[in-house]
């Protein structure tokens, strides 16, 4: 494990993290080995690919591109299904690495089944992902507080480990949804999933480039939206938030924590700075804290609200 300085140690839902960076769903989460490698490169915790009950092939390529200021993706939630994936989970948990299982489903029962199998296999946290803009959802959980509450309650009742809900920024009122999720019993919130969706057209062929035509945006372009969402959610609820969206360096991490995050997802930055981006961000954040007289990252959670 990467040993960060004491100043970055933190606790998320009862789990001790060496630092607040988390590799979010969709990045290198296909195999146990690559999750372990991210951890060895400094991630405080890692998240699986979104896992469903059955195997999913996802969309045709192109599924992931970079438009310069960020990434666009429509992977389509490809995954081998929870039955297969428990093997990867066990492999990761042998190493005692803090692990979040990101779950998807077509209905409440799907989510419950995946969550239970994940718990049995040893994951630390269940993340309910209702916010992927890259599939046609059977149920519009992401923008319907009532539907979502029902789902959260069922999953909460089914497992005894903490559950968090991953929210979409593509809603009219994220505060309302965050409140509903808290009320329904969620232990935490992660935000944000990708923005838009967006579209890129190749003009020589007059064709949308992504096979799914549209794709969600991530990376530096969306950081201000992510910061605003986390700021809003922090005002609406009192459960911890995993903030993510465009976090690329130590200053970004501090900004996200000041907006209200307890831990911070770092995904697209792997493209810009390599797999050891977690170590780099931690070193930069530590340096900034030292220069600005902070001894623990916990001192600045939500600091931007105090004014």
């Amino acid at each position: 494990m990467f040993e960060t300085t004491k100043s970055l140690k933190t606790k998320l839902l009862g789990i001790n993290l060496s630092n607040p960076t988390i590799m979010p769903a969709g990045f290198l989460g296909v195999s146990a080995d690559s999750l372990i490698r991210a951890y060895e490169n400094g991630a405080g915790a890692v998240t699986t690919k979104s896992i469903s009950l059955e195997e999913r092939n996802g969309h045709a390529n192109p599924t992931v591109l970079s438009f310069g200021y960020g990434l666009i993706n429509a992977v389509g939630l490809s995954n081998p299904g929870i039955d297969e994936y428990v093997e990867e989970i066990k492999e990761v948990k042998k190493r005692k690495i803090p692990l979040i299982l990101n779950t998807i489903g077509d209905d409440n029962q799907d989510f419950v089944d995946v969550a239970k199998m994940g718990e049995a296999a040893g994951v630390d946290i269940i993340e309910i992902n209702i916010s992927c803009p890259n599939v046609v959802h059977r149920k519009p959980y992401y923008a319907d507080p009532e539907l979502l509450s029902g789902l959260v309650q069922e999953v909460k009742d089914a497992v005894s480990i903490p559950i968090i809900v991953k929210l979409s920024p593509n809603v009219t009122n994220i505060k309302e949804i965050a409140k509903a999720v808290e009320l329904a019993g969620a232990d935490g919130i992660s935000a944000i999933n990708t923005v838009g969706p967006g579209m890129i057209i190749n003009i020589e062929t007059a064709k949308p480039v992504m096979a799914f035509k549209k794709g969600g945006l991530s990376g530096p372009a969306i950081k201000p939206i992510a910061i605003r969402c986390v700021y809003d959610i922090y005002e609406a609820v009192s459960i911890p938030i995993i903030g993510m969206g465009g976090i690329t360096n130590g200053r970004d991490l501090i900004e996200m924590i000041m907006a209200g995050a307890t831990a911070v997802g770092v995904g697209s930055a792997i493209y810009y700075r390599g797999l050891d981006v977690f170590k780099k961000i931690c070193a930069e954040a530590h340096e900034w804290m030292r220069d600005n007289g902070y001894s623990s990252i916990k001192q600045i959670i939500g600091a931007a609200h105090e004014s």
């Binding site: 990045f27 290198l28 310069g68 993706n73 490809s78 081998p80 064709k207 493209y271």
Partner: protein, 278 residues
């Protein structure tokens, strides 16, 4: 003034982090074998041998291909497998495809080298052989009809051929020739690409003889630039940490020649992976 620079600069910065297919025209098509064709592109891509590009057929799919010719005459060489390659083989001069890259690392050039390829594995190795000059090249294939770049390699190297049925060169495997050669001489490096079972044998032989290996591997890819994790073999991303791997890395790959991942991420045997959708 720092806050408003010229448009070209903006475009340059943009380009640096952009990974979008840009359309290029097919300039020339060459039949290599009954089935395999080389497509010369109306663009110049400068890359190390072994690096690859992502090729997009609008509305169809996008797949990784090594460069069979590099620089002034940039080309890819395509073997029919599934939907994508069959579509590609149907394209003609003037048609447009999208390309992005080059991605991944390339082979590191060394003298006193042996290049050993199985079937299509010669594609990324051919420009390497031309760059190194005077190396030994061993090509293996099922039949003489499946042999690729023979004349090209004969010009550039000391060429050995093996076919399963003996219709050209020695009857047997390319690895048989390698073993034989190693009795008389040694190499500073062995470069290899081809079916993963062959790569594994080559690597084992090289290890026995204490020779450095550089092997180019293949896995199903999505992003091509190291974020999605689709192409992993153990913890290594073929698109970003590879496709060319060193002996040290190959030693750590417990999955080499054994397991690979389908599009869903499901881990299957390499055999099942190769038969997938065929």
């Amino acid at each position: 003034m720092s806050h408003n620079t010229d448009p070209n600069n903006l475009a340059n910065n943009f380009a640096k982090y952009t990974a979008l297919p840009r359309t290029v025209k097919i300039k020339k098509v060459v039949d290599e074998t009954r089935k395999i064709k080389t497509f010369f592109l109306d663009t110049k891509i400068w890359a190390a041998p072994g690096q690859f590009i992502m090729v997009w057929i609008p509305g169809v799919d996008e797949k990784p291909f090594g460069l069979s010719y590099i620089g002034n005459d940039t080309a890819i060489t395509i073997q029919p497998k599934g939907k994508f390659t069959k579509k590609m083989l149907g394209l003609s001069v003037g048609d447009r495809i999208g390309v992005r890259g080059p991605y991944g690392n390339g082979f590191t050039l060394k003298k006193n080298a042996c290049i050993i390829a199985g079937g299509c594995g010669i594609i990324p190795l051919a420009p390497l052989a031309e760059m190194i000059k005077n190396c030994v090249v061993i090509i293996g294939a099922k039949t003489s009809e499946d042999l690729l770049f023979i004349e090209r390699m004969r010009k550039a190297s000391e060429l050995y051929i093996a076919t399963d049925d003996g219709s050209s060169g020695a009857k047997g495997y390319a690895t048989d020739i390698l073993r034989k050669l190693l009795k008389e001489k040694t190499f500073d490096v062995i470069y290899t690409c081809g079916p993963e079972a062959m790569i594994k044998s080559v690597f084992d032989i090289a290890e026995e003889h204490g020779i450095e290996t550089q092997a180019s591997l293949e896995r199903f890819m999505k992003c091509g630039f190291g974020v999605c994790g689709q192409c992993v073999i153990n913890g290594f991303r073929v698109c970003k940490d590879g496709p060319v791997f060193s002996s040290e890395q190959l030693r750590k790959m417990t999955e080499l020649g054994k397991f690979a991942r389908l599009k869903s991420g499901r881990k299957v045997t390499v055999k099942e992976y190769y038969n997938w959708r065929s």
